[in-house]
Assembly symmetry: C2
């Protein structure tokens, strides 16, 4: 979770009146049980629980001039940044970390599926030859050092993997054999059996896995992306998979997204595409409700909320 | 692992000369590094490392009258029992427990795949709606209390599941919320989100999951079979999946096996079939080599080998 932007939150003070837009009863319950008052969207709104699409938020902000804090529904916030939202004095909290568990679980599901050629098997209509690699003892490279990466490391711990984490700033990551910065990524690709993309999308990480990076991966390696589709050069990924320069891929995010009908990725060998469902609406509602309850309790007491967006970083 | 049949192993004494049939250099190395002597199949053979099919073993035994111990290559031994092998004074060791890790890993891969509708997604050629359940906190029912079950429980520990283990005899199983005998199975089916079959095939477990058992499972439940195909009534399973009375299935073993071309299971919704590849030959060679080295070291020293088959139980 990013550090608090100190200037904004120190002037935030207690926030007591919250609006939920669009209305979701589970979130109204979360506000109420944490001591917040639920009000209609309007001049009384001090805190806004926003679970609509990024496009609709600007209109709501025009109608809520007193708003000082906004809870966003997603962990990734690049679309809000692109729309210029973070340039105001309003404090934004993302859902960073709230969905770490189901997303890390999905990353593990895709990892095992790709290693064991389950996409190819799901399409088979006849008994076949043995294929597959076991995850035990493999070398895993994770790009991203946030909550999803931490939980993924927790889930793969029983497999005794040697895990390298690539993150913006070096820091201790429990379960990682080493933590390196992006500068050292290229030198680590050649010895990766599993590459997991769990980074935020920024100017530094856009297409971080390009044709050169894919060439550097061993042909037996598999790629898992539960971050953002634009972390990968999709055209280069298709070419690598078709040429057998990569053993398989599990993608919960794509570029473009949704992936268009007829796109070659739909039929690339040993590739599994899930429609951004690592965390489904049902999973999200429970976990976002818990996050809202936590943040509202903090704000009512005049304490800073968690997972505030750093305007300079954009996440 | 089953208890030693005491009568047979107490008279076994040191075993020093081993034959490997068919010849596998990795297994000859394992015998040699544990202090055993590798000899041609014949009158000098005291211990036999057998990795052929069950059918060929009888012929080899005729040519090895001095054999006192046989290492079998599989954890399941029902085909050797059916052939009457266990009626002699020869001590048999199965590979029970040796492949627990990759098989438990495969069971987890199939569990996550079925819960998250990955078989359906692998067949899709278009973006789709969100579907899927998260494994965190679900209720898992495991039939079988051996090494695979133990390792599966180890792998799912981070998910905080409530696990019930069904086994022949009650015993403490680390990580299980409760351990019950087969008599109580039926009463536990109604509250299972995930049903994992990891039992040996015996007269007691054949078709242990029949039409009545499948009806008892919740419609949201998924079934994973990494034991033996005959643990399940396949016709009833197809019917349950087609009727939506079961959310999905992951099957590494089938009945018949290999599953015949055109069998309805190939196209049953959200069903993933892998061709008995939970442990591939490459994975097996490493792990069986370790088991052979362990057993040969024990036998040379006059100690009992591990995973001996109890003739009365047949596994």
């Amino acid at each position: 979770m990013s550090d608090m932007p100190k200037s904004a939150t120190s002037t935030l003070g207690p926030v007591r009146r919250f609006s939920i837009e669009p209305p979701v009863s589970a979130y109204a319950d979360a506000v109420a049980r944490s001591g917040g008052e639920v009000v209609e969207v309007g001049p009384d709104t001090e805190g806004l629980i926003w679970t609509g699409s990024p496009d609709g938020l600007a209109d709501v902000l025009v109608r809520t001039p007193a708003v000082r804090w906004v809870q966003l529904p997603s962990a990734g916030t690049e679309r809000y940044q692109r729309a210029g939202m973070f340039d105001s004095d309003v404090v934004y909290s993302s859902a960073k970390g709230a969905y770490a568990r189901p997303v890390a679980e999905h990353a593990l599901a895709l990892t095992l599926a790709a290693l064991r050629f389950l996409p190819d098997r799901a399409r088979a209509t006849s008994w076949g030859a043995q294929r597959g690699r076991s995850l035990y003892g493999l070398r895993v490279l994770v790009i991203g050092g946030g909550g999803i990466a931490a939980e993924y490391l927790n889930l793969v711990r029983p497999f005794g993997c040697a895990v390298t984490v690539v993150r913006r700033q070096p820091a201790e990551v429990p379960g990682a054999a080493e933590v390196v910065t992006q500068r050292e990524l290229f030198s680590r690709l050649g010895s990766a059996d599993v590459l997991v993309l769990a980074a935020a999308l920024t100017d530094d990480t856009r297409r971080i896995i390009d044709a050169a990076a894919l060439r550097r991966l061993p042909a037996e390696a598999v790629l898992v992306n539960i971050g953002r589709g634009e972390l990968v050069d999709t055209e280069a990924l298709v070419a690598a998979l078709q040429a057998g320069e990569l053993a398989g891929a599990g993608l919960d995010v794509t570029d473009p997204e949704p992936l268009t009908d007829g796109h070659p990725l739909w039929r690339t060998q040993n590739t599994l595409i899930t429609p951004h469902t690592a965390d489904t609406a049902a999973m999200v509602e429970v976990l976002l409700g818990e996050r809202i309850a936590d943040n509202v309790a903090r704000l009512v007491a005049g304490r800073p909320p968690v997972a505030t967006v750093d305007p300079a970083l954009g996440y």
